[in-house]
């Protein structure tokens, strides 16, 4: 996080000595393959979502790669005849609340570890990092017992309270990096001017760490939007499900797969994070690489 500056030298370096054909074979061809493979599932998802049922499995008379007379029937079915809007709302509530809670706790924790440097701050920082490495796959069984014992099983609260287990370590770790990049001198001069620690945090440090807060916030939002195993384990009633769980458990019935509805469910469920992502690409990249680089 300390070296945010990506080198943007526009000079071509050694590449100018390459021939055009060599460049096409070595760069553009592999790159095109990568892009094709990485994006094809989305294309397939989108095209299936708008295909009329008759064309869906009829590969003889219609090219599967294209659609004649796209339909909104599947999306309409999803929005008006299933609990999909409810799941969308649940996912949103859970993601927003758990992100907010995690950010709040993480800002204080990161500031304390990075700037107050209390006794044991280094060890605490390391523990936070280790906490980030504890996977939900080994926590969900005991957590389900706890969630059941405190009586929040099958409620949104169960998810709001458990998602921060992976969000807080991540956000704290990320924000520590941001706080580290803010010069000490600013805080010192505020201290000399008689500001309290609280004032320094809210008036000096936080405004400077806004990019970090945005990064941590949208990243945490995406992580909680995508979370699956806790939502699958802790939620049992249809009206409390989140998008990933709802689409998988309620739209798949028996052996008859309604691929159109399934794919439009997947498409609509991905859209919010993709839109968010498209606005904040650089923040995503910086939080992803920031968390790794430190």
């Amino acid at each position: 996080m300390t070296d945010q500056t990506t080198i943007t030298d526009d000079h071509e370096g050694l590449e100018q000595f390459e021939s055009r054909t060599r460049r096409i074979m070595l760069v553009w061809l592999p790159l095109a393959c990568f892009v094709f493979v990485l994006l094809f599932p989305f294309y397939w998802m989108a095209i299936t979502a708008v295909k009329p049922n008759a064309q869906l499995t009829d590969y003889q008379n219609h090219s599967p790669f294209w659609v004649v007379g796209p339909t909104l029937e599947h999306i309409k079915y999803l929005l008006f005849e299933t609990s999909y809007p409810g799941w969308l709302w649940n996912t949103l509530v859970v993601a927003v609340c758990s992100t907010f809670l995690s950010l709040l706790a993480s800002v204080f924790a990161a500031y304390a570890i990075e700037r107050l440097r209390f006794r044991g701050a280094r060890v605490t920082g390391l523990l936070i990092f280790l906490a980030y490495l504890v996977p939900p796959s080994i926590l969900f069984i005991p957590l389900s017992v706890i969630v059941f014992q405190i009586g929040i099983f099958d409620s949104k609260l169960a998810l709001i309270l458990t998602y921060p287990t992976f969000l807080i370590p991540f956000c704290t770790w990320l924000l520590m990096g941001y706080f580290r990049s803010i010069p000490y001198e600013l805080e010192e001069s505020a201290l000399v001017d008689g500001a309290t620690r609280w004032q320094i945090l809210t008036k000096v440090v936080l405004p400077l760490a806004v990019p970090g807060l945005i990064s941590a916030g949208i990243f945490a939002f995406t992580l909680s939007w995508n979370e699956f195993i806790y939502a699958l384990t802790f939620i049992s009633s249809s009206e409390n499900k989140t998008i990933p769980v709802g689409v998988l458990t309620e739209l798949v019935r028996g052996d008859i797969y309604e691929w159109g509805a399934l794919m439009s469910g997947a498409l609509l469920g991905s859209l919010p994070v993709v839109i968010l992502y498209s606005f904040f690409v650089d923040y995503y990249v910086s939080s992803m690489t920031g968390a790794v680089k430190e």
Partner: protein
């Protein structure tokens, strides 16, 4: 009253103004959360592994019985094999392809930011939802891959992607690699961008071939970040749950069960919380090994920066 409350107030003030006091206070929300919902469950999970707890009934201590039972359970050993196989093959592929993609993107390209943005998409979209798309792509009858290969005359029958043990293993691996490449590529790209171009140019002037420049200049400078990225990648692959759960649920005949999915299967639908917890605990030694690997990777980074 004032004489009584005054020392209290000043104690509070002293507490808040001291580094340790305020530090403690600021750490409190995060610490409480993590202790209640991370440390405690971790301990509880280890304890559950030694009990015969079932859903709706707290368990009795039964010592190592769960583990003894698992030792004799061929399905458990199959899941261990699957997990290791899945992790090793998928991580190697992710690393190779991710590094290749990072090197491609590190070149002088028009619309570099655009490429970077679309390449990260598989990683942004919820795994379950993209796995659904793969489920449809791997359909036994209407798979688009089968259709194209049939059309080109490469195969004569549709491929049974998820119905045959080895096909199923390879298919879930392909989906996992697809999802993992962006993370590896973009992280390594960030590492590549910190390597000054001049080093490569100097090596070229000294007569180094492109391959030598890659192995003797780029790779050593990238090693520390590779260590961290791959630790993360290995950790997340090892504990993967979502892809398997969507695509195969561990089938056909347990051929794709990973330890995480088996633990879920036994604990939640099966109701054997104790046994499920024991399987989850059995994952911990592997994770510790990965974390230690990361630790030594980071150590090396300091040495390379010449910190001491």
């Amino acid at each position: 009253m004032p004489p009584v409350s005054e020392p209290r107030a000043s104690f509070w003030r002293r507490f808040v103004e001291s580094r340790n006091g305020l530090g403690l206070l600021f750490m409190l929300p995060a610490a409480v959360f993590l202790l209640c919902f991370l440390t405690y469950p971790l301990g509880l999970g280890v304890w559950l592994g030694f009990t015969d707890a079932r859903i709706g009934r707290s368990g009795q201590w039964i010592g190592l019985e769960n583990y003894a039972w698992l030792m004799d359970d061929p399905v458990f050993w199959l899941s261990v094999f699957n997990t290791l196989f899945y992790t090793v093959v998928a991580s190697v592929l992710k690393f190779g392809l991710g590094l290749w993609l990072a090197l491609l993107l590190n070149r002088h390209l028009p619309c570099k930011n655009f490429f970077r943005a679309i390449i990260l998409l598989p990683w942004v979209v919820p795994t379950v939802l993209s796995a659904l798309a793969f489920w449809w792509i791997f359909d036994s009858q209407f798979s688009i891959i089968s259709w194209v290969l049939l059309k080109w005359g490469i195969i004569s029958q549709p491929i049974n992607f998820l119905g045959d043990p080895w096909n199923a293993r390879l298919s879930v691996m392909a989906a996992n690699v697809w999802r993992g490449i962006p993370f590896v590529a973009i992280s390594l790209l960030a590492g590549l961008q910190t390597i000054p171009q001049s080093l490569n140019e100097a090596a070229a002037i000294d007569g180094a071939t492109p391959w030598q420049r890659f192995t003797k200049v780029t790779l050593p400078l990238l090693t520390p970040i590779i260590a961290v990225v791959m630790t993360f990648s290995v950790l997340f692959t090892f504990t993967d749950f979502q892809l398997i759960y969507v695509l195969t649920r561990g089938g056909p005949v347990n051929a794709t069960h990973l330890m995480a999915t088996l633990s879920f299967q036994r604990a939640i639908p099966g109701g054997q919380l104790g046994e499920g917890a024991a399987i989850a605990v059995a994952m911990i030694p592997f994770l510790l090994a990965a974390i230690l690997f990361s630790f030594f990777g980071l150590q090396r980074r300091k040495w390379q920066q010449g910190a001491d």
